[in-house]
Symmetry: C2
Subunit: 266 residues, 2 copies
Amino acid sequence: MSQIFFGAPPRPSAPAGANVSERAQLPPSLAISTVIFALKPDPLANGAPTLWLPLVRRIKEPFRGQWALPGGPLTAEESLEDAARRNLLETTGLAPAYLEQLYAFGGLNRSSRPERGSQRVVSIVYWALVRATEAQLSVGGEGGDENVAWHRADTAGAGEGGLAFDHREIVDYALWRVRTKIEYAQIAYHFLGPTFTLAQLREVYEAVLGRSLDPANFRRQLKSAPQIEATDEFLEGGRHRPPRLYRYTGPLDATPGGPGPGSTQS
Amino acid sequence: MSQIFFGAPPRPSAPAGANVSERAQLPPSLAISTVIFALKPDPLANGAPTLWLPLVRRIKEPFRGQWALPGGPLTAEESLEDAARRNLLETTGLAPAYLEQLYAFGGLNRSSRPERGSQRVVSIVYWALVRATEAQLSVGGEGGDENVAWHRADTAGAGEGGLAFDHREIVDYALWRVRTKIEYAQIAYHFLGPTFTLAQLREVYEAVLGRSLDPANFRRQLKSAPQIEATDEFLEGGRHRPPRLYRYTGPLDATPGGPGPGSTQS
DNA sequence: AAAATAGTGTCTGTAAGACAATATTGT
DNA sequence: ACAATATTGTCTTACAGACACTATTTT
């Protein structure tokens, strides 16, 4: 919550060229990065699911050895979103169902260790949601690349000198975005399979929002939504009364290709 | 907390997909554009205020002679927001109190008249709010540049072959953004001076939202907000009972310079 | 039977919208 | 006095949140 002024807005008072360091005068280059969220059971949270994301260990300076968001340069013949998808697939093997632009980061001091003569990079960052099942298959398993690993979204990099570049700030912003967006848009279903129990759906909301929700009120709200459809099936194998399985039949807010970021519910 | 589930705001339809032509293999270049909104009395709307924005007539191909958003290239030594501010000042003389990143547009077919060998451009678009008083002084007056002029935001370019590039789509998205954001963030005050009557504030909401609001209920809602403070003054000179002037004392959701949870609910 | 989770019913406080009623000014 | 706007009050409805209560399964 940045809150500000009324009469006199604080402005970054730097007219162009005011404080010119000697840096390459090359035009800024463009890169794409992606914050990929999945819900995974967290041993530290008593087995309750929390938000995780895959990170890539840097093998070059700057920030060599530290963890960074997957990403890469934008090539000449692909759209921003295609570039995000391609980088995602190449570095993590994931093909998310939900992908949306997050923000364009272009500050002058994005690398807190600016290298002499290094070119300035503007990063257009996307965020994505994947199911835990997909997440398991692609990264971190036996055959996985040890330079790609899942981390808890809220604590990644802590105790290891932080994440590379300004990626901690980016992840925090993406967390804020998924938490606020889940309250008004249909994105929770991207974490789940085609059918689910109301308890599972509630678990998604609780994990993302970070607070517990009243099961009775949660159920009542969903029942008032015509897009939630009860199936004839029940989830067997539990330790107690088997819960009914539901299906989401509404529009899935899939991958807002461009400006209407997202979610619409017709 | 408000309703969790359904009820997302309507969004503009998604943009068209890409259509690759053979184009130069140069890396995409970066540009900044800005959608600047001001409320101006509209003769076509019976004198009621509507949203207007300054546009620049293109003097070069492509789209020569058509109207476009003010903007320009990003130089090596300025942040994205600084570049938006600078371009704004140079082309329109405006220094907006509110400035926020809108979206990064990077589709392959952004110029619907792709020139052979032209370099692909990724535009990072900002949107801004200015007061009508500022707006009057800088553009379109006697000494104004005739290649810069105010247009109604919702109809600009209609009947003139449309706006240049994909700028109509961009303006529509910016319109959607200001209309949805005014409902939960304190941005209306950026259209007004330090004091205002409740009728003036209501007029702002009505103009942006495009519907009329009940004066009594509007007043009651604002009175429940501690950030609205009554002054001892009244607006004299009206034709009837003089209304009291109020002041907004709360945080002004201004210029989320970076990504941070820059805007908040109230 | 007990435990545990699934699922229903009810009450309360808050807030929005419709709209009647009163207040205060200029003409 | 009258017109026009400002300002207050009242009623209704919707809904979120708290929470008691019932239902159905496993152990």
